[in-house]
Symmetry: C2
């Protein structure tokens, strides 16, 4: 009902000649600027000690079987929080089944992974470490052992989890990583625009913004992430031939969740090619065209596609400097279990 | 002659009770503190533009065939400038033949690679990009093409090499990377000690310093890198059974270069396990014991090994903050050649 009201409003307000204050007001009906912090769950409040430890663990290849894969391998902060590969390389160059989603602003979403199978960043972080084609750890225990005999980790876990008698536990590894990931907010020019700075977007970007509203993209790509807030069927007007991934059906086993995925965020989408759940499309403009066709049954002109791509560039932003500074990781000790290069 | 004079001096000066000023003076006979900058070759003067571009290229997986390996993959600044693996993983998880040497302070050495086959950082940087088991680029041309259609690289190469009509050339990729690498100096407590701060080392570290002098380790591990200044046979008193690598012989084809390698630097050696040209030894203390035995024919006591290991910790240092800050890499364009996942 609310959306229909807004769409009626839109019929009056939006046009190729919408005035800036109108467009800002209209945009605020669909989108929200980035918050200053991502709220943490009650059982894992963000602290500087956890963030610092989490950053170390984010780069910690010793959390992988062969000491060769870390969170950062697939979620590279230099490249939009992804690896720019169709699917990622894990232990011994095994390939995963889905395109790595961005870690940037990920904590703003309703859930994690393409199929939403993890309700929180904490739950998400526990997955890839044990996934046999990703970091491939044979057990939680080995992950703990890899850190346990390193004095600096002993000390840092103690400081990050001062109430725990034995702080180096698998759940705390995930908690620290999640705390670091909550710092990965990327303020953009579009946020400035939403907050009232009409000059933050170019004329072409504003045209693109009007188009994503008028075309209906904002039905799904909305809110603080411009996506990440709901699940939707991929291929409402015809199946997308590039993928047979049943998506969220694998989580719920509900027929109506077949080919349903979490709507990806638009934030930094210009940096996260290739696109879609299987990374099958390299060109952002082709992705825009396909989405309009199979989700909204609309054929966009080349000019419309160009303007929408222009607009999406206004959603680019970088994580804070502190997050972009590499940690110095402590050396292993003779008691640290060595890497295992078997599959 | 000079060394004999110094060793005579040592007989008087060095003992378990050497006074601090004596030990500082003695240490300065063998070692040199880190310079403020690493001198650049005349044809590649260091500039801020080259350093910034070089940092981007250092993290650029698009310089590898499968868009999955960068300089940083094997020479990780978070972990002593290495990957802490016996041998590195390259394209499609292929393994190299030798342990990755540290990039930290690498420009201080007489030459690059274990066998010294590259005379400069510039020449070194050109190797792994084209090595079929490392970054596996099939041609210099593809490396150039991967960058050529990205407007930000066009602009940055132009600014870094303003006199070149076509600045995006293979040699300039290497020049920029080398310029960045020249910033990777890691000042340590030992440098403070050499400059006169007796309190910079602990009592045990000073004992270790006396031991490396007395035992003769400093015959090879000396100068500004505490190594990196000469070639030596690995296994002077008996062949090291862990390796049949002919070393520098492969470069010179001179029989007397069989099993000869560049002496590795001690700087950050505490962070760069596993040790030796094939990464066969994980424990620093075992490496110390083996080296004393096969290079100097000396059996060290456990206590002596412990003190030497203590001393080596005083050579730990971190690259400057600017080098530790990750670059933001520009997105590919539809004209950028995509990754190739074939061998």
């Amino acid at each position: 009902m609310y959306l229909i009201g807004v769409l009626l409003l839109l019929l009056t307000a939006s046009s190729a000649h919408a005035q800036n204050p109108d467009l800002i007001a209209l945009a605020n009906k669909f989108f929200k600027p980035l918050p200053d912090v991502i709220p943490a769950p009650p059982d894992n409040p963000t602290t500087p000690e956890k963030v610092a430890l989490g950053k170390m663990l984010y780069y910690e290849t010793r959390l992988s079987k062969g000491d060769e894969v870390s969170c950062s391998t697939c979620h590279n902060l230099s490249t939009g929080g992804v690896d720019n590969l169709p699917t990622s390389f894990g232990h011994l160059a095994q390939r995963g089944g889905r395109n790595a989603p961005t870690v940037l602003n990920a904590g703003l979403q309703i859930a994690q992974f393409w199929d939403g199978r993890a309700p929180s960043l904490e739950e998400q972080a526990k997955g890839p470490i044990l996934n046999p084609v990703e970091m491939a750890m044979p057990s939680r225990d080995l992950a703990i052992q890899r850190l346990y005999y390193i004095p600096e980790y002993k000390d840092r876990f103690k400081k990050a989890f001062p109430e725990d008698k034995e702080p180096i536990i698998y759940d705390n590894i995930a908690r620290a990583i999640a705390s670091f990931e909550r710092t990965l907010l990327t303020p953009s020019r579009f946020d400035k625009f939403l907050k009232g700075d009409a000059a933050a977007l170019t004329a072409n970007e504003k045209k693109g913004l009007e188009l994503v509203i008028k075309t209906g993209c904002v039905t799904c790509h909305n809110g603080v992430g411009a996506g990440g807030g709901m699940y939707q069927k991929f291929g409402i007007y015809g199946h997308y031939e590039g993928s047979d991934d049943p998506g969220r059906f694998n989580v719920t086993h509900d027929e109506k969740d077949k080919f349903v995925f979490k709507v990806p965020m638009w934030r930094n989408v210009t940096r996260t090619a290739p696109y879609f759940n299987n990374g099958s499309v390299w060109d952002l403009k082709e992705a825009i065209r396909i989405m309009a066709k199979i989700q909204l049954n609309k054929e966009l002109t080349n000019d419309e596609v160009d303007r929408i791509a222009d607009f999406l560039h206004s959603l680019e932003g970088n994580p804070p400097q502190a997050a972009m500074t590499l940690p110095v990781l402590p050396a292993s000790t003779p008691s640290t279990p060595p890497p295992d290069f078997t599959k």
